[in-house]
Each structure stands twice: as structure tokens, then as C-alpha cells.
């Protein structure tokens, strides 16, 4: 089975974001694989090991710098990767079309894994658009996965610990959530091996993506800083607890 994993190259969540121009950020900060996508790669590799004749292919959009993210995916066990070369970030409508075109030109997907969301844009929708593009069913925030014949059973966590158990026919798109598995740090031999794995580069412009008149575009980006002036609540523990209760009652008005 051809298993594809869509990964995203995102700014390190610990990095300081500096706005550049009106609507973008200074990209000289470290970028890495989106954390949820690590769960997607881990699950894909686990599945591959349980199936005969399968291959895990990681797919990403970006510049040469995104090779780092694909290298990470391959260190975690992906066999090879595809980098769709594009200079600027695309919205999820175009991203899904590009991923579809690249995957389709490469092979016949049995399963497509993604992360449940990207930590930079948190659009939460690319997986559904990929599903629509291929005509495959989609399950979101998958925290448990099993496969039997041509069917998969997943547990999809909605919120507050509520889990929907779905059955999907293959091929399908599954968005990995935390809890699905525990990604492991690659070993040194894995890292060395990944260096020899192939990254196929495809120019975005050769994919023939037609713009459909629907789009999302960031027109302005500004820093969000909520000014807080920390005030210490002092006194004996009992006095502090009483002061806190008073703040909750009088200032926050929640009790």
C-alpha cells in the first residue's frame, strides 16, 4: 500500500515571531516539522511495518528549507519524500490541490495521514479539502487507529474526552491527534539512513493548479500582546486565599 503523509514546515513554537512587512513574518527563525505531523508519520510507519509491500512517502510544500521537515519525517521512518517547491505560503484551498496533484502523479494512495492542525495557522481544514479532492472520507483528530482488510476503525476525539468511533473504507484521509502514539526521537543510524533517502522536488507551477476564485489571504498581521501588570497577593495563606476569593467575586465577577 502507498501511504502518504502530508507534513508542514512550521516555525518552532518557542521562537520569537517578528512581523515583517504588513502581512508576513521574519522567516530567519528555526522552522521544524509540525508537532501533530510527527504523530501522523509515526502512525504511517507503524502501519507500513504491519503490511507487506508498502511505502511511506512524506509530502510537503515549501522552499528548500522545508527539506529539514522532510528529513525529520524520513528519520522517523518515511521511505522517501516529495517537496512541492513554492516560494510563498499557500492557503488551504490551494495547498490541498497541490498535495493532491503531487500525490496523484506519484502513486495510488491507500491512506493519507495528516496532523490534526498546523500550529502556525491552525486552519484545521486542509485534510478535509484533500479528502474532497480525492473523493476519500476523512476522520479528524484520530487518537486510535486500526485496520482490517479494506476498512479502518478510528477513534476521533471531539472535545472534553468525547470519542466518536468511526469505520471508514479505504482509501481515506486520517488526521492524527495527540494520543494516537508516542513519536520517538530518531536513533543515530536512522538519522544517517535518512540522509540517503530521496527527496523528489516538484515545481508548484508545473502542477497546473487552477485558481477557483475562492481564497483566504492574510492581509494584515500584528503582534498580540495582552498587557498584564502582575500584582502579588500577600499575607498569611488564609489572608491570601480570602483576597483571592474577593478578586474572583468583585473584580472577575465569576463567583
Amino acid at each position: 500500500m502507498q501511504i502518504y503523509v502530508c507534513v508542514k514546515h512550521v516555525p518552532d513554537s518557542a521562537a520569537n515571531i517578528v512581523i515583517s512587512g504588513k502581512n508576513s513574518i521574519d522567516k530567519s527563525i528555526p522552522f521544524l516539522i509540525n508537532p501533530y505531523d510527527e504523530h501522523a508519520v509515526t502512525e504511517a510507519v507503524k502501519l507500513k511495518k504491519s503490511l507487506k509491500k508498502s511505502e511511506v512517502v512524506a509530502v510537503c510544500l515549501g522552499t528548500d528549507d522545508a527539506e529539514k521537515t522532510l528529513r525529520s519525517a524520513m528519520e522517523m521512518g518515511a521511505d522517501r519524500s516529495i517537496l512541492i517547491m513554492v516560494a510563498t505560503g499557500q492557503d488551504s484551498i490551494t495547498t490541498a490541490k497541490a498535495l493532491k496533484a503531487a500525490i496523484e502523479s506519484d502513486g495510488e494512495p491507500g491512506i493519507i495521514f495528516t496532523g490534526r492542525e498546523s500550529i502556525d495557522d491552525v486552519g484545521m481544514q486542509t485534510m478535509f479539502r484533500i479528502g474532497k479532492a480525492f473523493g476519500f472520507p476523512v476522520a479528524a483528530n484520530v487518537v486510535k487507529f486500526s485496520i482490517k482488510g479494506s476498512k479502518v476503525t478510528v477513534e476521533s476525539e471531539r472535545e472534553g474526552g468525547i470519542r466518536d468511533v468511526y469505520e471508514l473504507p479505504l482509501p481515506c484521509v486520517l488526521a492524527a491527534g495527540r494520543g494516537l502514539n508516542t513519536p520517538e526521537y530518531p536513533t543515530f543510524p536512522q538519522i544517517v539512513k535518512a540522509r540517503r533517502k530521496q527527496i523528489k522536488k516538484i515545481d508548484f507551477n508545473t502542477l497546473g493548479i487552477e485558481k477557483i476564485g475562492a481564497a483566504m489571504e492574510v492581509v494584515e498581521l500584528k503582534p498580540f500582546v495582552k498587557k498584564r501588570c502582575p500584582v502579588e497577593i500577600k499575607g498569611t495563606p488564609l489572608v491570601a486565599a480570602e483576597k483571592l476569593a474577593k478578586i474572583l467575586h468583585e473584580e472577575a465577577k465569576v463567583i
Binding site: S13, A140, E159, G213, I247
Partner: protein, 365 residues
């Protein structure tokens, strides 16, 4: 007149509070507001919806008055069907567990732009504001397309009722939300007769065979829904993190799983939800569903009480939009101290039980 559809989220037979902030946001469209409810008799909430500006309520259900079983594909199709029937091209829903299932499926199907977790919408400019880069920036996103979809971040936009003249007797305070009978009883006191008939309720039946057809997007089959067990030892609070006005969270400083009971006891008195930092989840003390942060829930309660949480940048990504942040930490150098509104530099094991006791006394007087 243009129309805007609003998917009203019902939880446990009650309309979620966050819906009212969403309706307030939708009013910016200056269009006719259509509320969509699924499997819900809107009669008992219609006054309240009207007071917030809803013009029409579409009651979606299956044939023969059957409930539509939860399935994200069929529910999405049903909402699309209603949008189509009433010629609606703008849709709002909450960015909650259900909204995250429905909105992107509809957006994908319609090839329509969608912005999730909106904190503001400008309908004239067709832009929405949302957080980007772990809450470090606010992005203004322009949407272009035939249909525009918006996921509203719960509890950020304040609910402001409009049609208050006609429903002066309807208490708008949040504590009256579940006491629907009181609202109806109070109605005869109002002078505006239209308040008695508005908003119009329109039943909308989804044909069973429509639900069976797989159409363009293949169906997924729901085998069952597993609810978190309230009797389970993992259940530290009956309040959902996303709906809570107060969240009390524990981090590495909690030291072990058993100590979370201290937070649980306090949460019960406060009516709060219990959250956790990644450190506490990764240590296996509490389930992942309690995690607040970059790779957990992103919450915006009125009050966030962080106990024994150092305050990493990733934790802040999940709670920095809280109205008030209170830190209880023994370490004055913890980064959360510099980023909160109030802090207590004391042992949480001493402070939290005392707070529980003080609140309990207030609750009993």
C-alpha cells in the same frame, strides 16, 4: 436582503452560552439572521434568540420527526441542504468539537474559504481576525468566494442583546439561561406583540434517503460515541474546558496524580473546569483531554488559575487569551509570574485547599 446562517450548538439539551457571542458577531452582517438547530425544539429558546437578533430559526430534523443521529458527514450535508434551501451563503458556527467537524467538511464540499477561531468579523470588507503563530499575532484574513464560512472562537466575543425593548422582562443574565420556563412566564409583561411571534420557526426535514446517499463525499460510519465516564477516576470536573468561565490548572508542581484531587475539590466549589500543563499530561497524571497549550486545548476563560505551572511559551499559547490569569507558584522566578494578573508565591498545597474552604463558606452563606 442577504442572509446569514448561524449553526447554534446545543449541548445536553441546552444552548451553549458561547452561541450568543457568535450571534452578536453575526449581527455585523446587517443581514437576516437564520439560526440552524439540529434535533432541537426551538420554541423554548426562541425568545432568547430573538433578543440577540435572530430573525428565523430553522429546525433541522430527519423525516417523521426523528432525530438525526450524530454523524459529521450527514450533519454537514444537512446544514448545506438548509443553506441551499434558504439561499444562504454565509455560515457561522463555533470552533468547538462539533464546529471543527462540520465547518471544514462544508468548506471542502463548497470549495469555500473558511477561517476558524475568529475573534472578529468585518462583513463589509469580508475579513476575519484570528490568532496566528501560537497566539503571538493576530491575523486579518480576507475571504474570497461565493460562500464564506467562519468558525467563531468561543467565549471571546461578548454577547450583546439587541431586541431588549420587546423582551425587557427576559433576564439576560447568564444564570437564567437554563431557566427557560421563567422567560416564557415573563413574556406577557412585554408590550411589543411581535415579541410573541418572533422569531419565526421553520421546520426543515432532511429526507432519510438523502442521508443514505453518499453523494460526492463518501460517508463514514459512526459505530458508537464513547463519553468520558463521570465516575471515572479521570473525571476531575464536570465542566468542559472549552465552556468554563473558570479553569484551575495544575502543572509539574502537582507532583503526582492524586494531588489533582485538590484542584478537583476547588473546581467543584468554583464551578470550574480542571486543566493541566503538558508536563502533567506527559507524566501520565491526567488524560490528554485536560491539556491546555500549544498541542492541547486553546481556552479563553474569564479566570485561569495556574497552580504549579512554570508558564512555558507553549502553555501560554493555549491560555494567553484568558481574561484574568492568576498564578500560584512557590517559585518567584517562574516565568508565569511576570505574565499574569495576580500571583501568590506560596505552596499550592497550602493555598488551594484554603481557597476551597473560603469559597465553600461563601457558597453556603
Amino acid at each position: 436582503m442577504e442572509k446569514t446562517g448561524i449553526f447554534i450548538e446545543i449541548a445536553n439539551g441546552r444552548i451553549k452560552n458561547a452561541n450568543y457571542g457568535m450571534i452578536t458577531a453575526a449581527r455585523g452582517s446587517n443581514s437576516e439572521l437564520y439560526a440552524f438547530v439540529i434535533n432541537f425544539k426551538a420554541e423554548k429558546i426562541k425568545k432568547k434568540l430573538y433578543a440577540h437578533g435572530i430573525d428565523k430559526i430553522i429546525e433541522i430534523r430527519a423525516e417523521n420527526d426523528f432525530e438525526m443521529a450524530w454523524n459529521p458527514v450527514s450533519w454537514s450535508k444537512a446544514v448545506m441542504e438548509a443553506m441551499n434551501a434558504f439561499d444562504i451563503h454565509i455560515l457561522l458556527a463555533l470552533t468547538t468539537g462539533i464546529g471543527k467537524e462540520l465547518l471544514p467538511r462544508i468548506a471542502a464540499e463548497l470549495d469555500a474559504p473558511l477561517v476558524m477561531d475568529c475573534i472578529g468579523i468585518d462583513f463589509d470588507k469580508k475579513t476575519a481576525e484570528t490568532f496566528r503563530y501560537s497566539g503571538k499575532t493576530i491575523a486579518t484574513v480576507k475571504l474570497t468566494g461565493m460562500d464564506l464560512l467562519f468558525g467563531i472562537k468561543p467565549n471571546i466575543i461578548d454577547a450583546v442583546p439587541v431586541n431588549t425593548d420587546s423582551v425587557t422582562a427576559v433576564a439576560m443574565s447568564s444564570d437564567s439561561i437554563d431557566s427557560t420556563t421563567r422567560e416564557i412566564d415573563a413574556l406577557p409583561e412585554t408590550k411589543d406583540i411581535s415579541a410573541l411571534t418572533k422569531p419565526e420557526i421553520i421546520p426543515f426535514t432532511i429526507k432519510t434517503d438523502f442521508l443514505k446517499t453518499t453523494g460526492q463525499f463518501k460517508n463514514i460510519k459512526l459505530n458508537k460515541t464513547v463519553m468520558p465516564e463521570t465516575s471515572s477516576s479521570d473525571n476531575f470536573s464536570n465542566v468542559n474546558l472549552m465552556d468554563a468561565d473558570i479553569i484551575i490548572s495544575g502543572g509539574r508542581g502537582m507532583k503526582n496524580r492524586e494531588n489533582f484531587k485538590i484542584l478537583s475539590d476547588c473546581a467543584k466549589q468554583l464551578g470550574a473546569a480542571v486543566g493541566a500543563s503538558r508536563a502533567a499530561v506527559d507524566s501520565g497524571w491526567v488524560p490528554y483531554s485536560m491539556q491546555v497549550g500549544q498541542t492541547g486545548e486553546k481556552v479563553s476563560p474569564k479566570v485561569y488559575i495556574a497552580c504549579g505551572i512554570a508558564g512555558s511559551i507553549q502553555h501560554f499559547a493555549g491560555m494567553k487569551t484568558s481574561n484574568m490569569i492568576i498564578a500560584v507558584n512557590i517559585d518567584l522566578d517562574a516565568s508565569i509570574i511576570a505574565l499574569c494578573d495576580y500571583y501568590i508565591v506560596m505552596d499550592l498545597f497550602e493555598i488551594v485547599p484554603l481557597l476551597t474552604k473560603v469559597i465553600s463558606e461563601i457558597n453556603h452563606t
